[in-house]
């Protein structure tokens, strides 16, 4: 069975000369819940953009369920749903239209779009807002709508780029439960987050990315072992070279 996402020696160099990805290779198996962690500017979003057609790789290969994301992008993109880091809703559309158009862009027939939109609006508690314009929604509602939009065309690989940044505790837990459920139903998930407990709780495997390179990958315990520490947080602090911020270190130093 092909991997949900297979990246081989991916390089992304921007016209400015900045090398955001320096030969990244990564394989996410179908059905996995995979975490991608790294500091700001490490290359997480660039990697995601290359996989979804929003950025053009300089060199390397990207395959989504075996489909080349550059040369056979149509099949590859059909399989991917993206919930981007920045909320990017269309101001001119209502909540229901946002889902309907997205379904249309992915070739879903009208009846199927209507049914799927109703289901997602219900799941994300947006049914009462269905005819409201997106710009009138609260921050939490916008975040839910972005996630619903990513799920609209029933992607087999869901990419969540910092989905819980700035959302309240209830919504974060709601999102966790929902994505865990769809992962159990077979959807592969690639999650980037700065909340390490989120990655620890949700992800089967995690990769650390820094300066455009994958520097380590494995389960949360494996990563901790690789860095010779006892938690994912300490492993991450080892990655970014800030061990002095470790809770254990601070507790030991306290008078």
């Amino acid at each position: 069975m092909p991997a949900a996402l297979e990246i081989v020696d991916l390089v992304k160099r921007y016209p400015t000369g900045t090398e955001a990805l320096r030969g990244v290779s990564l394989r996410i198996e179908a059905g996995e819940f995979f975490g991608l962690l790294g500091p700001n500017g490490a290359g997480k979003s660039t990697l995601i953009h290359c996989a979804t057609g929003l950025a053009q790789p300089t060199q390397g290969e990207i395959r989504v369920f075996g489909h080349d994301a550059v040369d056979h992008y149509e099949q590859a993109r059909l399989a991917v749903g993206l919930s981007p880091q920045e909320i990017n809703l269309d101001w001119f559309l209502t909540v229901a239209e946002t889902l309907d158009y997205h379904g249309g862009y992915f070739g879903m027939p009208k009846g199927e779009r209507r049914e799927r939109a109703r289901e997602l609006l219900d799941v994300f508690s947006l049914s009462e807002k269905r005819d409201d314009r997106t710009r009138t929604l609260s921050g939490g509602m916008k975040r839910r709508l972005v996630l619903a939009r990513a799920l609209m065309h029933r992607p087999r690989l869901l990419i969540l780029d910092e989905p819980t940044a700035g959302v309240d505790v209830e919504l974060r837990l709601e999102l966790w439960h929902y994505v865990q459920r769809i992962n159990a139903q077979g959807t592969t998930i690639l999650l980037t987050t700065h909340y390490l407990e989120e990655a620890e709780q949700l992800c089967d495997r995690i990769a650390f990315i820094n300066h455009g390179e994958i520097v380590a990958q494995g389960s949360s315990d494996e990563l901790a072992a690789e860095y010779g520490v006892s938690s994912l947080e300490d492993a991450y602090l080892g990655l970014v070279g800030r061990k002095e911020l470790s809770r254990a270190h601070i507790a030991a130093e306290a008078p």
Partner: protein, 255 residues
Amino acid sequence: MTAAQIRFLSLVRREVNRFMTIKRQTVGAPLLETFLYISVFGAALGSRIKELHGFDYVVFVIPGLIMMAWAINAFANNSSSILQQKFQRAIDDQLSSPASPLELLLAFSMGGFLRGLLVAALTFTASSFLVDIPVEHVLVLLPALLLVGFFFAQLGVLIGVRAEQFDDVSFAQTFVLQPLIFLGGVFYSASLLPEPFQTLTHFNPIYYMINLVRYGFLGYSEANIAMSLGLLTAATLALFALNHQLFRRGYKLRA
């Protein structure tokens, strides 16, 4: 309907929905503007000028106004729509869909093309109630208007894709497009101009477009019809080919 047809229709529907949502500004305002021109140049000035090349002055002016309405609306719609979506990054929803560069280009073009068609058709219909407008050469008029609409729709896409701020769009419209249209002979016959302005007018591409449309309606032209139609077709195809190339490269759309 196939998935590709659903996709294309959804992309076009989004563009039409945008200008219909704000139709007071996108359809109402241009209509009012055109009728202000008709009132000023037709009723006020026209009573002094009487006839131009055997036509009532207002009848001489209306074909140019219809062409101008289509051109400016096609341009303004596409340049604003694309820039706005780039600003909000809402355009990523279309860019990460399975739509090809050609489908995206045609769909973005159709928004302005259809808005221009709507304003031009309403202008023609309403003007027909006020004055008798002949249609002498429908087989020249229709291709000429369709080509003019498509040319300016492409120009709008080009400027929208290149633009980085709203000033870029308004600069192109106010300082380039509008002077060229006004000086192309919408409100006068170039043959009445003193030299060197008469000769200079022949270097203005819009002069030939106005002549084609005026010939289609009134049967009067100062320029060679076959040559004008040939040049307009060539210019439209060249612009379309350039845009297609830019969309394929993802120029200023994909990182």
